[in-house]
């Protein structure tokens, strides 16, 4: 996990280029790079895509760019260069006010807002983590032990990372609670029939085919694909049947 500006430099990309690719204003990217604000997940995904890296590779809140690197990372004319040209601002609403009026109307400059830390994990993320934990037969305490962080202190990035980790573990470890569910809609896959045919081919048990037009044929499977089945009939003839021509076929267990 690295600072956004470091990754951008590694990819030899300017802020303007990243802005154009990610569709995020350059000004906002500067703020992210300077650590003035954390990158929300939606923008993080767009930036990761534009930089060809994983979301998890980018820190949500970058460390500020070191002063000695500033010029290298950010050209001096950055604002004018990175942002699209805008029409000149309309004249001031109060023409009586002199142009040289001090900023903030002579008042003291307001203090700069402290950079916001990563956002707290969403309720939906927490609920999702708890539901995945159930598949491992963990209660909340066990889940927190596993993560090393109480759920209440989890931020969005960490929650996202743990969701990914648990989902991968469900696939690899197949915990007891995780039933292998048939994908219901859209309509599953066509693998079952192919497995059946593979078994028939391996065991060389013959199948009796009934075709769409009522013809019948018996043969041993010697090859098949998603759209056809090739059989050898008892008299040694090799026949390839288009599946669309088949009504059904039967075989002994």
């Amino acid at each position: 996990m690295d600072d956004l500006w470091k990754i951008r430099l590694k990819k030899q990309m300017t802020v303007a280029q990243l802005s154009a690719r990610a569709g995020i204003p350059a000004r906002l990217l500067h703020e992210y790079e300077e650590g003035a604000r954390s990158v929300p997940m939606r923008n993080l995904e767009a930036i990761a895509k534009a930089l060809y890296v994983d979301v998890m590779d980018i820190k949500a809140l970058s460390d500020p760019i070191p002063a000695n690197l500033t010029d290298e990372v950010r050209p001096p004319r950055r604002a004018a260069e990175d942002e699209p040209q805008r029409p000149a601002a309309p004249p001031a609403a109060r023409p009586s006010e002199p142009r040289s009026a001090p900023p903030y109307g002579g008042r003291e400059r307001p203090p700069r807002r402290e950079p916001r830390g990563p956002s707290k994990a969403r309720e939906s993320q927490v609920q999702h983590l708890l539901s995945l934990a159930q598949l491992f037969e963990w209660d909340q305490a066990a889940l927190e032990r596993e993560m090393g962080t109480p759920l209440a202190q989890l931020d969005r990035m960490e929650a996202s990372r743990w969701l990914k980790v648990l989902q991968e573990r469900i696939v690899t470890e197949r915990p007891k609670g995780a039933k292998k569910r048939r994908p219901y809609l859209p309509e599953s896959v066509d693998a079952f029939e192919l497995h059946y045919l593979q078994d028939r081919q391996d065991t060389e048990k013959p199948l009796d085919f009934v075709l769409f037009n009522g013809d019948k044929l018996t043969g041993r499977v010697i090859g098949f694909g998603p759209y056809n089945i090739t059989v050898v009939t008892p008299d040694g003839a090799e026949v390839t049947l288009n599946k669309l021509a088949i009504a059904y076929y039967t075989g002994e267990e």
Binding site: Y184, E187, S188, D190, F192, Y196, A247, T250
Partner: protein, 136 residues
């Protein structure tokens, strides 16, 4: 057989014309609505289009509407329920043959039926030949 499968079948037996050709003949600006009916697993298409297609192919519009209710998704839902509850089902094929048995499994292309009268045999029914279905 779903309406989509049936339309593809009708198109094939009418010389295999393209959906673009049919759309042009029906005065549709695009073949997209016909493609949608043919390709989607769920019920789609509006009544007017279905009626115009029925007229074009010279088949009763009632049959078209009947098939709309027998989409691939509807068959999937039926098979799933039958498999989960070990129900005995009847599959009525396009050749009017009736197969009775329990569902071992099914996928996108076929259904493995265990017939009631011969449990030592499997019947692999191709989905495209299934015309209708019901619980036994």
């Amino acid at each position: 057989m779903s309406l989509g499968d049936y339309l593809r079948y009708l198109r094939a037996v009418h010389g295999g014309e393209s959906t673009q050709d049919i759309a042009t003949k029906l005065g549709l600006p695009s073949p997209w609505p016909i493609n949608e009916i043919e390709q989607r697993y769920r019920d789609c298409g509006d009544n007017e289009l279905v009626a115009r297609l029925a007229e074009y192919y010279g088949v009763p519009v009632e049959e078209m509407q009947w098939r709309r209710r027998r989409s691939r998704k509807a068959l999937t839902a039926f098979l799933s329920e039958a498999q989960d509850n070990a129900h005995t089902i009847v599959l009525v094929l396009r050749n009017e043959e009736r197969l009775i048995g329990t569902v071992e499994w099914f996928d996108m292309g076929a259904i493995l039926l265990k017939p009631l009268d011969d449990e030592k045999r499997d019947i692999m029914v191709q989905r495209h030949i299934v015309d209708d279905w019901e619980m036994a």
